[in-house]
Structure formats: structure tokens, C-alpha cells
């Protein structure tokens, strides 16, 4: 069966510090991978998605970036965090089939102080 891991679970970082959030998927190959941000109690905002190694599409202009160094690894980064980067970050994978079903990791709660 497939599993998706995210870490860390929570993170408190000062403004201007760098960020690295990691997501890994097990039990599947060549998944589509997604990074979302979610405001409290609200819907999901797609930040980045990837259909293969080194292939990243950005949906929202911001000071975040993403990379996919391996088939089942997806990394969200920032060189300098802003207060507005605080939120709940979710990684998801899909099989890229016509069902469009996505499966989510447990999320990372980021607080920028």
C-alpha cells in the first residue's frame, strides 16, 4: 500500500530564516506530487505541482520554491520566510489517472514569528 510522509510536523521559525519541508511517498512510482497551503478552517491553495523529477509548476507567485530531486521526494523551500508564510502545509500525491484522486500527508504547521 502507498504511504506519504511529511516532516517536520510543526515548525516555528523567525522572519527571514530559511525553510525546508520534506515529503516522501512510498509504494508507488512516478506519482504526481503537490504542495498546498491551507488557512485555518478553509480550503486548499495549490502552491506547486510536479509530474516528474525536476519538473515543477508554480501556481502562486511568492517567496517559496519547490524541488523534486528524486521520483518520490518533494521539497518546499524558502530562502527568507515572511510572516505571511505561516500556515498549514500539505503534500499530496496522485497516480495521474483519470480519477484525479489525491492522497494527503499529515501536514506541517508552520508559524513564522
Amino acid at each position: 500500500s502507498q504511504t506519504i510522509h511529511q516532516w517536520p510536523a510543526t515548525l516555528v521559525q523567525p522572519v527571514g530564516s530559511p525553510l525546508s519541508l520534506e515529503c516522501t511517498v512510498e509504494g508507488t512510482s512516478n506519482p504526481n506530487l503537490y504542495w498546498y497551503r491551507q488557512a485555518a478552517g478553509r480550503g486548499l491553495q495549490l502552491l506547486f505541482y510536479s509530474v516528474g523529477i525536476g519538473q515543477i509548476s508554480s501556481e502562486v507567485p511568492q517567496n517559496l520554491s519547490a524541488s523534486r530531486p528524486q521520483d518520490r521526494q518533494f521539497i518546499l523551500s524558502s530562502k527568507k520566510l515572511l510572516l505571511s508564510d505561516s500556515g498549514f502545509y500539505l503534500c499530496a500525491w496522485s497516480g495521474g489517472d483519470a480519477s484525479y484522486e489525491q492522497y494527503f500527508g499529515p501536514g506541517t504547521r508552520l508559524t513564522v514569528t
Binding site: 504526481n32 503537490y34 478552517g41 478553509r42 480550503g43 486548499l44 495549490l46 505541482y49 509530474v51 509548476s57 498549514f88 500539505l90 499530496a92 496522485s94 495521474g96 483519470a98 480519477s99 484525479y100 484522486e101 489525491q102 492522497y103 494527503f104 500527508g105 499529515p106 501536514g107 504547521r109
Partner: protein
């Protein structure tokens, strides 16, 4: 532009009552998913509907896809406190490159 309008945004009812959540769009979707999310966790897929008019049941939850594949509803019968959570609908379109279009969510609270 919100392509998937979800309503209501918030619903608080007593245990045992019935409720319906709606997800509406002017666009046609190839498939539509419903997810439930609990605080501090990732969304969990409940169901996928792909055929116009399709009805799927998951215990006390009934999901329906509109005939024209532009809307969907989630009906909960005899709601339980364990049904509390954020319900999200999301639709897939052939021109979306496997991205989902998300509703803003319905926060549901079932009071014992």
C-alpha cells in the same frame, strides 16, 4: 473566480439531525471527490463520483453527482459527533493537467 461554490460554509447541528452540503459549478467535471479533514490532519478521501447522476453511499453518507456533472451533494443522515470536521469537494477536468479545483470547504459541527 471560485469555480466550485461550496455551501454552507459553516453548519452546527444537533446529533441525530440530517444535513446536506452542496458543491456547485458552471463547469463540467470529469470526476468529483469529497474529502473530510479533522483539525491538524490532512484531508482524507471519502468518495469519487465520475458518472452524471451517480449516487454512492458510505454508511450514513450519500453522495450524488449531478446529471450534467456540474454539481454534487453530500447528505448525512442521523449525524453523529464523529462526523464533525471540514468537508471539501474537489473536481477534476480534462484540461486541468491532473490538478483539482477545490471548494472552500464546509465546517461541520455535530453537537451531542
Amino acid at each position: 473566480t471560485q469555480l466550485l461554490e461550496q455551501s454552507p460554509q459553516f453548519l452546527s447541528i444537533q446529533e441525530g439531525e440530517n444535513l446536506t452540503v452542496y458543491c456547485n459549478s458552471s463547469s463540467v467535471f470529469s470526476s468529483l471527490q469529497w474529502y473530510r479533514q479533522e483539525p491538524g490532519e490532512g484531508p482524507v478521501l471519502l468518495v469519487t463520483v465520475v458518472t452524471g447522476g451517480e449516487v454512492k453511499k458510505l454508511k450514513r453518507l450519500t453522495f450524488q453527482f449531478g446529471d450534467a456533472r456540474k454539481d454534487s451533494s453530500l447528505h448525512i443522515t442521523a449525524a453523529q459527533p464523529g462526523d464533525t470536521g471540514l468537508y471539501l469537494c474537489a473536481g477534476g477536468r480534462r484540461d486541468s493537467n491532473y490538478q483539482l479545483i477545490w471548494g472552500a470547504g464546509t465546517k461541520l459541527i455535530i453537537k451531542p
